[in-house]
């Protein structure tokens, strides 16, 4: 386990550096800049503004300064920053720098404020999806071929086929407008998270249900289940203690991609439900050419997805000792 984790950590660093480098240069290659607007700035003022964030430096120098902690040309930086706005970044030192659009905030502040909400929403969606998906999958497998199975599988197919913005709009229409039991959008308590979590979790629940059903059907026809039944165990025990663990394996390996899907999928749902999570920064920072915020979001999301995938691999190794033997 230790060499496995060490290897993962090494790859983690390499991946992050590659992602940061690629997104830094891609971002700057896109036409248009952070201070463009229909009403263009006076050229002198635009020059002052670009100078404040060192956008007039050669790209390579900006890149090094962004990675920091090489604080290039510190004297000049202090003067231009209007007595001390920090220079771009120093990501290695944990400083993502100031946001180019939200001039009152640093990228660290923005992420610190929005990310917990995205994670909460994601965790809620994922937990709900796994619970609902497992239940549906098991019932579906046990009642194979029946009306309930048909209904559940149909619902799952629908949840997979509907894009999340359609599902979200339908949920709002049903449970907030026609039947006003939940708020339409915004924040303010757990009730505000119910509809977004359902919209976000539905396709995952559908996938979990399908995987659990297949896994369950496989184990139900296995020898040890027949043996358990032959011993005269009650059906409930046979299902939960003997058949279910086998059915869980494919579900567990799906959790990594599912978690990544929840994180990246949240941007649509967050927009529709006006939730101030990190998902909105993911899109808006790119549209605004907010270089520093876009970089910050990309790096943090990359780290999160990598971390989650590693966690799932660890869980998988715990569940299935055979996996540990494969390097």
């Amino acid at each position: 386990m230790i060499p496995f984790l060490a290897r993962r950590l090494l790859w983690f660093a390499a991946t992050l550096l590659a992602v940061a480098t690629a997104s830094f240069f891609l971002m700057r290659a896109v036409p248009g800049g952070p201070f463009d607007a229909e009403r263009r700035l006076d050229p002198t003022i635009e020059r002052n503004l670009r100078a404040r964030y060192h956008l007039e430096w050669p790209l390579a120098k900006q890149y090094l300064a962004y990675l920091g902690p090489l604080n290039l040309d510190e004297r000049r930086a202090r003067v231009l920053g209007g007595d001390g706005t920090r220079v771009l970044g120093g990501v290695l030192a944990g400083d993502f720098g100031p946001s180019l659009r939200y001039r009152d905030q640093t990228v660290g502040d923005l992420l610190g404020e929005s990310l917990p909400l995205s994670l909460a929403l994601g965790a809620l969606a994922l937990a709900g999806a796994v619970a609902a998906g497992l239940a549906a999958g098991i019932v579906s497998a046990v009642r194979r071929g029946g009306a309930v199975d048909f209904l559940l599988r149909g619902t799952a197919a629908l949840c997979l086929a509907l894009p999340s913005f359609v599902l979200a709009s339908l949920l709002v229409l049903l449970f907030a407008l026609l039947l006003p039991i939940l708020p339409v959008a915004g924040t303010g308590g757990w009730r505000h998270l119910v509809l977004p979590a359902v919209a976000l979790g539905a396709p995952i629940a559908a996938n979990v249900a399908r995987l659990a059903r297949t896994g369950m059907l496989e184990t139900l026809s296995a020898e040890f289940v027949r043996a358990a039944r032959a011993k005269g165990l009650p059906e409930r025990i046979v299902l939960l203690r003997h058949a279910l663990p086998g059915a869980l394996l494919p579900v567990a390996s799906y959790l990594g991609p599912a978690a990544a899907g929840v994180l990246t999928g949240s941007l649509v749902v967050e927009r529709i439900f006006a939730i101030p999570g990190a998902g909105s920064h993911f899109v808006n920072s790119a549209l605004n050419r907010d270089y520093t915020l876009a970089m910050g979001v990309t790096i943090v999301y990359c780290a999160l997805v990598y971390g989650l995938n590693t966690a799932v691999d660890v869980v998988h190794r715990l569940l299935d000792p055979r996996a540990a033997e494969v390097p």
Binding site: P31, G32, G33, D36, A37, E38, R39, R40, T44, I45, N48, R52, R76, V79, L80, G82, D83, G84, T85, R86, P98, R101, Y102, D104, Q105, D109, E113, S114, P116, A120, A123, L124, A127, G128, V130, A131, L177, P180, V184, A185, G186, T187, G188, G189, W190, H192, R241, P245, L248, L249, R271, F273, A274, P276, S280, L287, N288, L319, D320, P321
Partner: protein, 593 residues
């Protein structure tokens, strides 16, 4: 054995899942705002900053106007300049020297008196190149200001002293203070300009304390709730990016007796359908935009309020690229656009077809109009004749396919399709639609790499000059390649002129522009507000400005009275405000506001 291991692991997974759900609930609960505000509205995109000097967009302006007050403030109904922090003012007969007497007893939220010195320092800060304020040019009409702001020395500092700018704080009789401002040239709209939120004062002491406390991040720290010192009708209570800004009434404000609502939430919601949902469920009392496909349905309601808005929608023409260098071609294109179809079938919220550069709703303005026939059919005939004269069409060369360039958005696409259809049917031209993402689009437009490109312009102040000056030679907002010395000369002559001569010169300049047509006017904007019928103090005006200071809730009696006066036929809707109303301490209910 395997089953036993799996079973243990299985229990572990269940445990982890339960913990994360709990965690989620706790986190979500922790993010909850306190009690609901007296009133909430949708403020569009998250404000980029609350620093008055550097704001540029409408959502920021709304908040800054509530937090700060400048020398003068606009009347919410008529937009006339009214006394703000300046109690009174005098203008010298030549229109150059303004003397503002500061209001005695006006205080910052930290207890400091608001003085002329605060304004002088704030204006210096606005002009200082290190502030990099987009609207610093607003003050360029002040003697010495342009040179101070644009003469940049070593390390970005201004090379001149602020003493060269004609802004001075003077003592006023009885311990008060006065601010003297001398203009370079008479500028009749100077008071309108002073009412812009960018020209609000900031509290010097709070900025300097923040700087001493945390030199690295002071520019961020002084704007936080709890540290931001303001002088306007409201204070900053809470702020959470992309969620809400909560404003609380400032009890120390000089006119607090006429401020009714204790707390107001400004919600950052960009998704238009979400905004409509929030409005329909009564979560917010005002939204200023709706999805275009709902407009025809919503405009039947009593709470839909449309009024002329000082904004224009037009296409820029790249006059540097043949055949658009030919004035006849441009005129033919302008004539053959079916503007009626656009405002009736596409925009549908009260917009007006536009044949000018300055919107006709400009107060006190009688401008020029593009020459046109009695009917659209006549215009089409004239357009065909012009094209033939330029050597295109039947018997002549074929016009190359025209690209209509617009930024990616459904509503722009719909307009472009109507325009392309008009040209295809009426002139036999091939027109192609090309869309680009907003900032790529701006870049393409700036590089003059287009045939015809979508544009719009919104006024900051009710002054026709703003719509015209962008087309002067070398202006960074010209972006058409067009230049005419006669036009430039008329504009600079208008700077030195007084009314009514000034308006006459500007109208003459507009006539030249409409003869040359580097732009194809399409329609004049209309405001499209959905406002809770119970919300009082909300006036329709041409700048779509609705100061929160004036807002109050109507009681049942006043609501009935307002409804009785409203035109019949509008669809009644449910109101969500408090039925007993909420009035300012200084205003008894229905005191005739």
């Amino acid at each position: 054995m395997a089953a036993a291991v799996s079973s243990r692991a299985h229990r572990r997974i269940v445990l982890v899942a339960c913990v994360s759900v709990l965690l989620a609930a706790v986190l979500a609960g922790g993010g909850a705002s306190s009690s609901p505000a007296d009133c909430a509205f949708v403020n569009g995109a998250e404000p980029a900053t609350l620093d008055p000097a550097v704001i540029t967009a409408i959502p920021e302006g709304r908040i800054v106007r509530a937090l700060f007050e400048g020398l003068v403030a606009r009347d919410p109904a008529t937009l006339e300049p009214r006394p703000g922090m300046a109690e009174s003012w005098e203008v010298s007969p030549d229109g150059l020297r303004y003397l503002f007497h500061l209001r005695r007893g006006a205080r910052w939220t930290n207890g400091d008196p608001v003085t002329a010195g605060d304004f002088a320092w704030s204006f210096e800060r606005l002009l200082d190149p290190r502030t990099a304020a987009a609207y610093a040019s607003q003050l360029f009409c002040v003697s010495g200001a342009r040179a101070f702001a644009t003469d940049v020395g070593e390390g970005g500092t201004p090379s001149r002293s602020f003493a060269t700018v004609a802004i001075r704080a003077l003592p006023d009789g009885g311990g008060g203070s006065a601010l003297e401002i001398v203009l370079e040239r008479p500028f009749p709209r100077f008071l309108d300009l002073l009412a812009c939120p960018q020209l609000s004062p900031v509290n010097r002491r709070s900025l300097e304390e923040a700087r001493a406390r945390s030199p690295g991040t002071w520019q961020i720290d002084w704007l936080r709730p709890g540290t931001l010192v303001t002088n306007g009708p409201y204070r900053l209570l809470e702020r959470r990016a992309n969620d809400r800004i909560r404003l609380g009434k400032n009890p120390g404000y000089w006119d607090a007796d006429h401020v009714a609502l204790e707390t107001i939430d400004a919600l950052a919601v960009e998704h238009l359908a979400t905004a409509v949902n929030l409005y329909l469920t009564g979560e917010v009392a005002w939204i200023d935009q709706q999805p275009a496909d709902l407009a025809s349905r919503l405009c039947l309601r009593e709470d839909f309020r449309s009024a002329p808005y000082l904004g224009t929608y037009f296409y820029r023409v790249n006059v540097a690229r043949p055949p658009f260098d030919d004035r006849r071609v441009r005129r033919a294109l302008a004539l053959a656009i079916d503007r009626e179809a656009i405002v009736r079938k596409v925009t549908r919220a009260g917009e007006q077809p536009l044949l000018a550069c300055v919107p006709p709703s400009m107060p006190g303005w009688r401008g020029a109009s593009m020459a046109h026939g009695a009917s659209f059919a006549d215009d089409v005939l004239e357009a065909r004749r012009l094209l033939a004269e330029a050597g295109f069409g039947p018997g002549g060369r074929a016009l190359p396919a025209i690209e209509i360039h617009y930024n990616t958005r459904e509503s722009h696409k719909d307009v472009a399709e109507v325009v392309a259809d008009s040209w295809r049917e009426n002139l036999g031209l091939a027109a192609r639609l090309v869309n680009e993402e907003w900032r790529v689009f701006l870049d393409t437009q700036r590089r003059l790499d287009y045939d015809v490109s979508r544009s719009s312009w919104i006024a900051d102040t009710p002054d026709p000059r703003g719509f015209l000056e962008i087309f002067t030679t070398g202006n960074e907002n010209n972006r058409t390649g067009w230049s005419d010395p006669r036009f430039d000369a008329l504009l600079s002559r208008s700077d030195a002129a007084v009314e009514p001569e000034r308006s006459r010169l500007l109208a003459e300049a507009e006539a030249i522009l409409l003869e040359e047509l580097p732009i194809l006017p399409i329609y004049a904007y209309a405001t499209k507000n959905l406002v809770d019928p119970r919300l009082g103090g909300f006036y329709d005006n041409a700048l779509d400005e609705h100061p929160l200071k004036a807002w109050y809730w109507r009681d049942d009696a006043e609501l009935a009275e307002v409804r009785a006066r409203a035109p019949a036929g509008a669809e009644r809707v449910a109101c969500h405000g408090p039925s007993r109303g909420r009035y300012a301490p200084g205003d008894s209910p229905r005191s005739g506001r």
